[in-house]
Symmetry: C3
Subunit: 156 residues, 3 copies
Amino acid sequence: MGHMDIAKKLSELGWTLPAAPKPVGAYVPAVRTGNLLFISGQLPVWSGKLIAEGKVPSDVNVEMARKAAAQCAVNALAIVADELGGDWSRLVRVVRIGVFVQCEVGFHDQAKVANGASELLQEVFGDAGKHARATVGVNALPLNAAVEAEFLFEVS
Amino acid sequence: MGHMDIAKKLSELGWTLPAAPKPVGAYVPAVRTGNLLFISGQLPVWSGKLIAEGKVPSDVNVEMARKAAAQCAVNALAIVADELGGDWSRLVRVVRIGVFVQCEVGFHDQAKVANGASELLQEVFGDAGKHARATVGVNALPLNAAVEAEFLFEVS
Amino acid sequence: MGHMDIAKKLSELGWTLPAAPKPVGAYVPAVRTGNLLFISGQLPVWSGKLIAEGKVPSDVNVEMARKAAAQCAVNALAIVADELGGDWSRLVRVVRIGVFVQCEVGFHDQAKVANGASELLQEVFGDAGKHARATVGVNALPLNAAVEAEFLFEVS
């Protein structure tokens, strides 16, 4: 799949592929080892601002948190685009995603939130977008983001 | 090791190998890349119900939470069995497990809980069951599970 | 880089390479699969005691928590030294680190804390120390540690 195709596919889904987000600490956006490409934990940042800040569901409802998880995935794809020099034919598949939801005690719909990222990846990549996943709730996230997600891809 | 042997070994330990659990979201139970088999985060589900719900130690005591962690491992093995077509000789070793314990602030025995999964894997696979591990507490988990655990295996 | 060089480099930075820490549960310090070396979650232990206990920032301030994260990295390097038989030329690079900060609700500087580990790895290994990272807050950690960090290295 070419870069234009992925950008177009995202656009059809209502998303824009941004410039690859800068890390918020002393790490790098991605590291490749063998055929594995590890993407650092992404926050739901768009145009330099968090689109979902605080706890789910009190500050951020589930629908908005889903969108935030999808934004994390879009941001990860921007980094993958950079790493692959825009050559999406080198992306073999999504392997695993880890999703952390900043939430209240007593909230148990983390899976619905994480589906925002998972469904986007499958809409964009089809079967190659299917992945293993671990999703948990946490009491606090960097910059007060409502969601953080990390990604592991297989590339060639 | 054949499939019957693993099922028998589990049975001797008091466990039954279930049908592979269905994901609770838009992801797949397992993804293989190279010789690595990533298993999604497992909840302590048995016969369609959580065997440990709520926080450790107030709602679920440490002994029960240990059992729940072991159930997560058993469920992961059901998925591995599926992936390997029942041919356990293709399982090389357990590489890493990640264990998340839903707990009260002030609870610090997460390692004892996670040992439920770790000890089961070593009882079943011997040296090949020894693994790296990261164990933490969290304030909330999907479906109000007391424990969630993800697994990484090396296969051939 | 030879073992003495790493020990000397750490010493220049004010750290001492300890004996490899023992696991606090039924797991092993490290597992190698292919060229990947997975290091179990490390706690900020020095001379058998936690150097940072409790929550950030109420019990442990950010500066101390940064130091604790660096201690986790130093302890991981002690395990790597063991695994490589002291032959650091076999370390290719740091791939990923996962950092868990035990913190109060409302604390959002987890990245500053995790930088303690990230900066140390880059000071020691230069470009080979640059890594992908996922950093989150949690409500509780094993033994009441303020920080836990796990590490993934590429080795040859």
